[in-house]
Symmetry: C2
Subunit: 323 residues, 2 copies
């Protein structure tokens, strides 16, 4: 073990509580081509709540023409059996969406703005400045309706059109949110370009510029390193993560590539590392399997296939061939 | 970012060289039902060498009856174009295998013994003591032939039959290897039960008992946390990892679960974290795609699907639907 004495141990904060926000019903469902019946969506969200998830991004109040899959945003929210302590969030891109969301049992309206000009124009057909200009009315509507607001930054760790995204582009949007009185900041790894180095760089820049912000990391597993990035986030003191049931979702630029990090795999990693998530892994795996059945295609989650760590097999089970 | 000041940063050792041992041709191929023609195996290994991999576990000198897929071990070794600096390894379970391996251009004979009695009996039909008793003759044959020996421990982080494996069970086997003069120790996460906590516990026990051992970590991604475990290994000062091209392999106990951590994803993670691997990622992705074509089924690797991080897309590419 050469060099073992030269490096600092990674911190283990046994007992630390990690807040997981389940985003599958929004980030995952939106890329499904076949419309998922509203009742099925509601059942999955209620199942997630029963499994112990306390924060769920259930939908998006975007234009129903742009994203027909989420046209039933208000109906989904109406059907959710919200237990005490459960927080429901949804993306809200503009005042029209905010007016629709204000009428529901939603707790948090989520704003989002790309840190890359090219992605912003491509995604919402508006520049960064034009996008930010839409937010003050949303915040006003949210506050009048007693809702909280979270500020999201898309392509925070890289852009599929522009490449590297300077941390200062993220800081600029974070400052705009702070000046609107928003303290919850979500950093979106929209197409899976986050790496240990970029995660550290963005967090360092934010810590310097807007230390009051509470950061949530929203990683995608597009290049297989989503949970490795979570380890970096934990070592940097970030305790809020987004993830998706079954790893639901995908990357629009790469056929077969996966989307968000998987909730069961994240819960497994965290609980096995001594953190508390409040989630019942066995029940969560059941929800992942039911979600797979509803969608009619395989999901990339691993723990849902292999089972929890101490799943026992009889010695007459199929064997390995060697070491 | 609550708590950011309370934790130590994870170390970044920019420029540190990581030794990757590619094990797909052994650990991956052995579970393929259809026999892969010897020529195809040789082409894949030669492709891996051309991509810059310096250490490759090419086969296993187990009984051809037990593992027909690897019956061509000697022929595969004969066909490999070994460039300067390249090290070829193979598993060698007993003296009979050692005699076959001694005649080849193999550099390292790999011993392996389960740290769990139940897995040992199931895997090689022998107790731990019976297995260890087979090793001194192998070491003798290896040394007479000018070959090095690596000592492997299977189920080092958990057993699918027994559950948790005490770190002292790993230490016991490591001591046996050390007493045979073996300093290379490979810790096998045979069915993907390693977690940050178990990795730290086993490494701590070994550091205490056999500090002279050079440890290689052999993680499986069965539960999605393989690369998160690599982050833990790095923070503990371990710089040797096994991985498999395309994530080739699988778990005999869980249909659809993946096997070894994927070499391209590992190279991507390490290079993006400031480590050096000596591997050309683009060429490695080509080998992964050729391997997929030879096997005739999809491999779980993610970088081979999504491409390297700065893969650019035209702004007229398919869009994301939201943040």
């Amino acid at each position: 073990m050469a060099g073992a004495g030269n490096v600092l141990p990674m911190p283990v904060r046994t007992g630390s509580v990690i807040e997981i926000c389940e985003v599958g019903p929004r980030d995952g469902f939106q890329i499904e081509k076949r419309f998922i019946p509203t009742e099925r969506k509601i059942e999955i969200v209620n199942g997630l709540i029963d499994a112990g998830l306390k924060k769920i991004q259930v939908t998006s109040f975007v234009s129903p023409r742009a994203v027909p899959q989420l046209a039933d945003a208000a109906e989904v929210l109406a059907g959710i059996e919200k237990k005490p302590g459960v927080i429901l969030t949804a993306l809200v891109p503009n005042a029209r969406g905010a007016e629709r969301a204000a009428e529901t049992q939603l707790d948090i309206m989520g704003l989002f703005c790309s840190a890359s000009e090219a992605h912003s124009r491509k995604n919402v057909n508006a520049s960064i400045d034009e996008t930010l200009a839409r937010f003050p009315p949303v915040v006003e509507i949210a506050r009048a309706a007693g809702k909280r607001v979270q500020g999201g930054v898309a392509t925070a760790f890289g852009c599929p059109f522009e490449g590297d995204v300077p941390p200062q582009s993220v800081v600029r949007i974070a400052r705009f949110y702070r000046d609107l009185g928003i303290v919850d900041l979500n950093l979106g790894d929209t197409t899976g370009m986050a790496t240990p180095t970029t995660v550290r760089a963005v967090l360092a820049a934010l810590r310097e510029a807007v230390p009051e912000m509470k950061v949530t990391l929203h990683f995608h597993n597009t290049r297989g390193v989503g949970l490795a990035n979570v380890m970096v986030g934990l070592s940097e003191g970030v305790y809020r993560y987004d993830s998706s049931i079954g790893g639901l979702g995908g990357c629009p630029f790469a056929a077969g590539a996966t989307g968000n990090i998987c909730t069961e795999d994240l819960v497994y990693l965290l609980e096995e590392s001594g953190y508390e998530t409040g989630v019942d892994l066995e029940r969560l795996i059941d929800v992942a399997k039911r979600t797979e059945a509803v969608l009619g295609h395989e999901l990339p989650g691993q723990v849902m296939k292999a089972g929890p760590r101490l799943t026992r097999h009889g010695v007459d089970a199929v064997s390995t061939a060697a070491g």
